[in-house]
């Protein structure tokens, strides 16, 4: 079927170029080795002249330069190809995330319009439609946040209570996913003052909680911890017992548009922007974020560390823990 094969060819043509590049590197390495053997000054067939030594030396240098150049080009190409794939995955994911709730809204509107429905059925449909609108709104927000927080340091850091902010985010997440109180356990000091952008940090914490719930298995069990250390840094740790990930995937998860697995077999909602937004916000606060997972099916933990701690004024019980 010519059309189907043409389509698949036009979709991922660049991997062929990477293969050509790798082939060229192999050829260059073989040539270099051959040069080492044939042109070596101590070769038995020829006398050792200074000119020969010079030729050998510069020849070897040029070969090494050639290999280094090729490796550099292939690495750049590989990066481009990966970005390209991620971008097309992103378009695919956003298309799905935007169109699915729209399709659902349209279907329920049509149903309400064309069918005679009893009142309880109607209110059930309204509830479904409201959830679709929330989902649509969440996708729009994540795309907007990604644009807003990319490569931008916080313009005006203001004092904020990180402990309260995290507790609020936990409450909000519980409500949003209709979770029992003990599904997300939160341990935080009463107060933890920090200079930063409250709205951005709340977005970051909400994204982490969202992920923790989304990638949980049947039972949601998330632990959140907030603490300050002696170096003047505040830390927020969100740990889940969900699907986790392989160690090889850890370096990529903060990359824009990155999602584990093939998009066409998507099993979780999302656009691949969540962790990228979190990292952008944390970077905007000059902080760091680390991820850890013991392996697939064994949960994951994310730790955000932020500088800019404001020491508690005398007499305030900063270190006392509060449980929510």
């Amino acid at each position: 079927m010519p059309e189907a094969s043409q389509l698949s060819r036009s979709r991922r043509p660049k991997w062929h170029y990477v293969a050509v590049g790798v082939g060229l590197i192999v050829v260059a390495v073989v040539l270099t080795v051959a040069w080492q053997i044939l042109a070596a000054p101590n070769s038995a067939h020829a006398g050792v002249t200074p000119a020969r030594v010079v030729v050998y030396f510069f020849g070897s240098l040029l070969f090494l330069l050639l290999i280094a150049g090729l490796v550099l080009i292939v690495m750049l190409l590989l990066r481009e190809v990966r970005l390209n794939e991620r971008q097309s995955n992103f378009v695919s994911a956003v298309t799905h995330e935007l169109k699915t709730p729209v399709a659902s809204l349209k279907l329920y509107l049509d149903t309400l319009e064309y069918r005679e429905l009893p009142a309880d059925r109607r209110s059930e449909f309204y509830r479904t439609m409201r959830q679709d609108i929330d989902r649509l709104n969440a996708t729009i927000n994540s795309v907007l946040n990604a644009a807003m927080y990319t490569d931008r340091p916080v313009a005006e850091p203001r004092p904020l209570d990180l402990a309260r902010l995290v507790r609020r985010a936990v409450d909000l997440t519980r409500t949003r996913f209709q979770l029992p109180p003990d599904a997300i356990r939160c341990q935080s000091p009463e107060r933890l003052m920090l200079a930063g952008d409250a709205q951005a940090l709340e977005t970051a914490v909400l994204n982490l909680l969202d992920n923790a719930v989304k990638y949980s298995k049947d039972q949601v069990q998330v632990e959140v911890e907030v603490w300050a250390d002696e170096d003047g840094q505040a830390h927020v740790r969100v740990a889940d017992h969900g699907v986790g990930m392989a160690r090889t995937q850890l370096p990529f998860i903060f990359t824009r548009f990155y999602r584990i697995g093939a998009e066409v077999r998507r099993s979780r909602t999302g656009t691949g922007l969540g962790l990228f937004i979190v990292r952008s916000i944390v970077k905007g606060h000059h902080g760091t974020i680390t991820a850890d997972s013991p392996g697939p099916e064994r949960g994951a933990a994310f730790t955000v560390s932020l500088p800019g701690l404001i020491p508690a004024a005398d007499g305030e019980p900063a270190g006392e823990a509060a449980h929510v």
Binding site: E3, A4, L7, A103, K106, L107, T111, T128, S267
Partner: protein, 240 residues
């Protein structure tokens, strides 16, 4: 009562579609996972009590486990020729063509209009019945074309001891050409009647299907005697 298998992982859509199909009198079975759908449509080992055969499959493309394109391909290879209507957010013409090429019978981009969905479902089931010769009109269940014996009811074509399974689209196209034997049938008309597409859709699907039919019917598919191309107009199935 016709039985419809709905393969859709988005709960809201699945519930809404199911609700409407049931109101229209169909029996609906829902599966939300690609691998489970494949097991249902193309079981690897025959089950002791085989489930009821489905009359129509509504298939999403993006599914956990296995995507819709591969499901339709695998079920066709396993010999399941139930009509498949693909539903997907990927609405570009290339996606549409890919779906049809892989063996789907119709394609509806999301978001869709409810009346359109219901009409397509009804249309596909009617078309299958028409192709089989079970529907209205004078359609015979079995026809001779050249040396080939076409059994529309069983979606089978036999020629010189060889037998070929026909997909719903192949059978419907053949049915249309048989019904209008001796006349030239335009490409636009074929797209409308067989594929349910606009007459001016840019696709080589018709040409590809005609080539496939020639492989079944002709001695030399490169120099067709029975199924001829009328350049710039369409195709004609010659009288014997």
């Amino acid at each position: 009562m016709s039985r419809i298998l709905l393969v859709e992982d988005e709960e809201h859509l699945a519930a809404g579609i199911r609700f409407n199909l049931e109101l229209d009198g169909y029996e609906v079975e829902t599966i939300g996972d690609g691998l489970a759908a494949l097991r249902r449509l193309a079981p690897e080992t025959p089950e002791p009590t085989p489930p009821a055969p489905v009359d129509l499959v509504l298939l999403d493309v993006m599914l956990p486990g296995m995507d819709g394109f591969r499901i339709v391909e695998r079920m066709r290879r396993a010999g399941n020729y139930a009509p498949v209507l693909m539903l997907t957010a990927k609405g570009r013409p290339e996606d549409l063509v890919e779906g049809l090429e892989r063996g789907a019978d119709d394609y509806l981009p999301k978001p869709f209009d409810l009346p359109v969905l219901l009409a397509r479902v009804k249309g596909l089931i009617r078309r299958r019945d028409w192709t089989r010769g079970l529907g209205e009109g004078d359609a015979a269940a079995s026809v001779r074309v050249g040396e080939a014996e076409i059994d529309f009811a069983g979606f089978e074509l036999r020629r010189r001891g060889e037998s070929f399974r026909l997909t719903l689209l192949e059978a419907t196209l053949l049915r249309l050409l048989v019904q209008r034997r001796g006349e030239v049938v335009g490409k636009g008309e074929i797209l409308e009647k067989v594929w349910n597409l606009n007459a001016d859709t840019e696709t080589r699907a018709v040409d590809n299907f005609v080539m496939r039919l020639r492989r079944y019917l002709e001695d030399d598919p490169a120099r067709p005697r029975l199924l001829q191309t009328v350049r710039g107009v369409g195709y004609r199935l010659m009288q014997d």
